[in-house]
Amino acid sequence: MKTTSDVLIIGSGINGSAAAYYLAKSGVDVTVLEGASVIGGGGSSRNGGGVRQSGRDSRELPYVMWGIENLWPTLSEELDADTEYTQKGNLRLGKTQAHLDKLAQLAQSAGKVGLDVRMIDAMEAREINPYLSEEVAGASWCPTDGHANPLKTTLAFYRAARRLGARFYTNAIVERIEKVHGRARKVVLKNGMVFEADCIIVAAGYASRKIVNSVGIDVPMDLKVSETLVTETQPHMFDQMLGTAAADFYGHQTKDGSFVFGGSAGYDQFVRHDETTFSTPPASSLHGPCICRAVTGYFPSLEHAKIIRCWGGWTDLCADGVPVISPVDEVPGLILACAFTGHGFGSGPVVGLMLAQMARGEETVVDLSALRYDRFAAKDKKNKKAA
């Protein structure tokens, strides 16, 4: 077993696996350590598949837009697998004036960064999607948003990276990082094994926090559960990605015809957990019914669609709602990618590409200085900055 490489990646989710792919493609010797028995079994295989820009913070938009323009359209060919990427727009629905005001505000700030997203009235929304209920009062419309199959996309990055010679180890639970001559160098597993590399990328979701704590770095994040359900195959109805101003559900119809819907019952940040995140989060009996009521409020004709599976996944919620994607100055050789706050699937390919660039010491395709690990100032300092 080879325990040294140029780059070590901790976590085989979409971010870790995509980084491994782009590194292996450029000839870098890379190893991925995954704590669970399954590749990409965290949020990356449990999410709603949204590949969207609308509704995002303006600090994230530049790279998400870059990925949607440059990577997603050709990703299936690139990875030699069908990611089921569908770029047919995103309708973000509102039922009340307050909803519409909120959507208009989001659209305006996204427009400033150059995203094509505009407000449409109920009639135009129904032209795009004739199944909407009478309760829908309007929507924001972003034609370049879409969705993809997260299970296939994550495993496709793994398979493609593996084909190119990237090594993956599962059941390899990382406990800590150790420095040698001031640089991040060693990764120690729970079973005592030690791996070494010149560069270590930590992409382990919430578990990243404990791992980088071992070298004195911290990110203010919390663990939050997010739940999803899927219906039996239905006749084809529509292709758009859906979201709502009320954030009561989101989802889409998949290539095979089933609907995948996600949502929340409101207690997602207060779920019992053991901090390992390898486990399946306990599914709450409140979530499914709550999502069903929300969906049928916007799409009455789906009331007879049958739910066949429900599941939950962990998300790594950042204090300020956007991820940390950044090299760590105090610990040369360490790169951190975590705190994706429940929307890191759609950005996975471009984040992987940029992590590979950071590991090679190159400039990233998009400037990421707004997402540095040391941006978290005390509230009095922040208020001063804003004023």
């Binding site: 399954v38 590749i39 390899a172 007879h304 669609a305 066949i308 429900c310």
Partner: protein
């Protein structure tokens, strides 16, 4: 678990077999050859096979083919089927209409 699993074991080159065309998952129309090839491509866990090929994700939710898939994967990896972790069973036990799952008023829906 103290033993880590090497996902890059270079198994011998994929060899087609005479019955690779045999349908294993009838709901999603997945053949034995597709399952064997997935293992060869690094999908060592039943959960990964499911996610990659959709075996057992269709109408019957794997009631028919789970055992068969386990046997094929085990043979390909050279382990006993009992050593493989089965995919998570998820609720609801039977398909249930949205109107019904969302109903908290009680009564028949």
């Amino acid at each position: 678990m103290t033993q880590i699993t090497d996902r890059s074991m270079r198994t011998a080159a994929f060899k087609p077999e005479a019955d690779d065309d045999m349908l294993i998952c009838r709901c999603e129309e997945i053949t034995k050859g597709e399952i064997r090839r997935a293992v060869y491509e690094g999908m060592y866990e039943i959960t990964e096979i499911r996610r990659w090929l959709r075996v057992g994700m269709g109408l019957c939710q794997g009631q028919t083919c789970t055992k068969l898939v386990q046997r094929i994967v085990a043979k390909e990896l050279g382990v006993s089927p009992a050593q493989l972790e089965s995919a998570a069973a998820r609720g609801p036990v039977r398909p249930i209409e949205m109107a019904c799952m969302g109903n908290e008023k009680g009564g028949v829906c």
